[in-house]
């Protein structure tokens, strides 16, 4: 129901940054409630990460950062976005549907038998999905390959990849980071959903990520930290890539796992918590949106 209200044309009509940010906030909250509704329906999902990544996804897709065409999901010149943290499929699918890649009412079928909406995204089934993710540490290597392809073809499209912070414990990411540096892939932007929690505990109590910015800097990235819930900051940053010519970009988006819903914020248990009907009602009130698909 919100899609008509939030088309790209309308977004472009609004010129004041504050208004754009307020709009994206509303869209992000819709993504949050949609994802929680899906998880309530399927009794499976990853609420914490859905909520921490919603603002980033809304900004990329609905804030018109990504040059994509829902009517031609395979348009060759499209920007590529890879959802490396594929377990946050509730937020990702809600974003794709909101952007128009498939009808909103498909979201009702999340994880139902034979639904195209598997627990983790499948590019051969879901329009708009670029890579089959789920196991962690796959998205960045794939994105490096995409960025290399754009280079080989001398094409201007760009690659954005959203990774979790705990995910960076997978060594494959650092293989890919070295490769991105070696090939000066400034058409590649890595966004880290730095919510400081992984499945079992806080990242810093598990295998610590800090000094994360220094690590990416030393791997040859131009690194910027920002508030991953500040739409104005996200939009500004995403539309100014690369941060430095000749270097891949890394945005460390500081986020709160479970953001926007009081009972889930910062709670490790909400990594894959399933909201009850009452909790869903409370979330709806707190987020100030409605989901009617």
């Amino acid at each position: 129901m919100l899609r008509e209200e939030l088309t790209e044309r309308e977004f472009d009509k609004v010129s004041l940054p504050e208004e754009r940010a307020a709009w994206l906030q509303k869209k992000a909250n819709w993504i949050r409630l949609s994802a929680m509704t899906m998880t309530h329906h399927s009794k499976l999902g990853h609420t914490g990460g859905d909520l921490s990544s919603a603002d980033i996804l809304a900004t990329l897709y609905l804030g018109q950062v990504l040059h994509v065409d829902p009517d031609q999901p395979h348009w060759e010149q499209r920007d590529r976005f890879v959802m490396s943290k594929g377990h946050c499929s509730g937020a990702f699918y809600s974003t794709l549907a909101q952007r128009g890649f498939f009808p909103l009412d498909q979201l009702k079928t999340f994880m139902d038998p034979l639904s195209m909406l598997n627990g983790h995204p499948d590019r051969n089934k879901v329009p708009g999905v670029e890579a089959n993710t789920g196991p962690l540490g796959h998205g960045l290597p794939i994105s490096v390959g995409m960025a290399l392809a754009a280079r080989m073809r001398n094409e201007a499209w760009r690659v954005f990849v959203l990774v979790g912070d705990g995910e960076l414990q997978e060594g494959s990411n650092w293989e890919a980071a070295m490769c991105a540096q070696q090939y000066n892939l400034d058409n590649l932007t890595v966004i880290i959903d730095r919510n400081r929690l992984q499945q079992g505990d806080f990242t810093e109590k598990t295998i610590r990520m800090e000094p994360l910015a220094d690590r990416f800097t030393s791997f040859g990235f131009a690194v910027k930290e920002l508030d991953g819930h500040d739409h104005f900051a996200l939009l500004d940053a995403f539309t100014r890539v690369p941060v430095e010519t000749g270097k891949p970009t890394c945005f460390i988006a500081n986020t709160i796992k479970g953001k926007g819903v009081s009972f889930a914020e910062g709670k490790p248990a909400w990594h894959h918590g399933v909201p009850s009907r009452e909790q869903l009602e409370l979330a709806k009130k707190e987020l100030g949106v409605e989901v009617t698909w």
Binding site: E76, G137, P141, I142, G145, A149, M152, G171, S172, E175
Partner: protein
Amino acid sequence: MVSPVAFENRGLEKHSLSDCREAYARALEEMAEEDGRVSVVINDSLSSAKMKNFKAKYPARFVNVGIAEQNMVGVGNGLANGGMIPYLCGASCFLAARAMEQIKVDLAYSNANVRICGMSSGMAYGQLGPTHHSIEDLAWMRVLPNMTVIVPADPIETAAVMRYSIEHKGPMFIRISRIPVRVVHSGDYKFTLGRAVTLREGDDVTLIANGVLVSRALDAADILASEGIQARVLNMSTVKPLDRESIVKAARETSGIVTVEESLVAGGLGGAVAEVLAVEHPAPMRMLGIPDTFAPTGTAEFLLDYFGLSVKGITRAALELAGIGA
């Protein structure tokens, strides 16, 4: 990286043997010349994958990810997504094993147009030992949905498979041996996916082989013929999708089937053939290959003989099936 392995060609004329790697490398260069989508990814395997010429001719379509196989496979997926046709060329032992989950998810599950060229597969690295052998790759690749698995027998077939690969939809694993072999196909050979090649007709017993062991199976058939036994020899270069029809036909028309492969028989060609026969036409079998063990120290030639993959070993197994000798 590994050092080159000397290979002794006992009992065979050296000038008549050649290495499939040259044919694969030359084919890739020609394909790149004709099609701008052909690209190569190596893992520091410039010389072991014979890619020096390719790199010199097409530097913009050549990526060396360094010693990093997980990234290598992901990069392959990304290149394919971006419209390229990537060939991932590296020693099979490292590529297949280290990056198995990436191969499963990024290539097989994603059904990506990526080709893995598993170099120096089987026991070609001989005395470098089981870390450098790739006797498990056929079993690992064969169980992956969407994955096509091909083991060319000689340089002519290797070049033909490479040519075919450019049109194929979905991921492929192509095993490229470094063990010198005799040419078994004629110059006008055309590769057809999923079709066994009958290299010799015969109705007494069937030898199903692939890779470097096809020429040995043919030699065994010569010896069998001198004993009055006509062996049918099938080159089963496509391990997946398997030519079920030829297998069942052979089971019907001959007294039994000997499979001959340079890999673990469990899950390999032997396993694949047995799966077909068990369901469609149970028949006596001998499965020659590597049993449930890692190889001892030895040259590739020594190890092939050690595991009964010699002309003599193949002949003996066929005689048993034909009901002669023991």
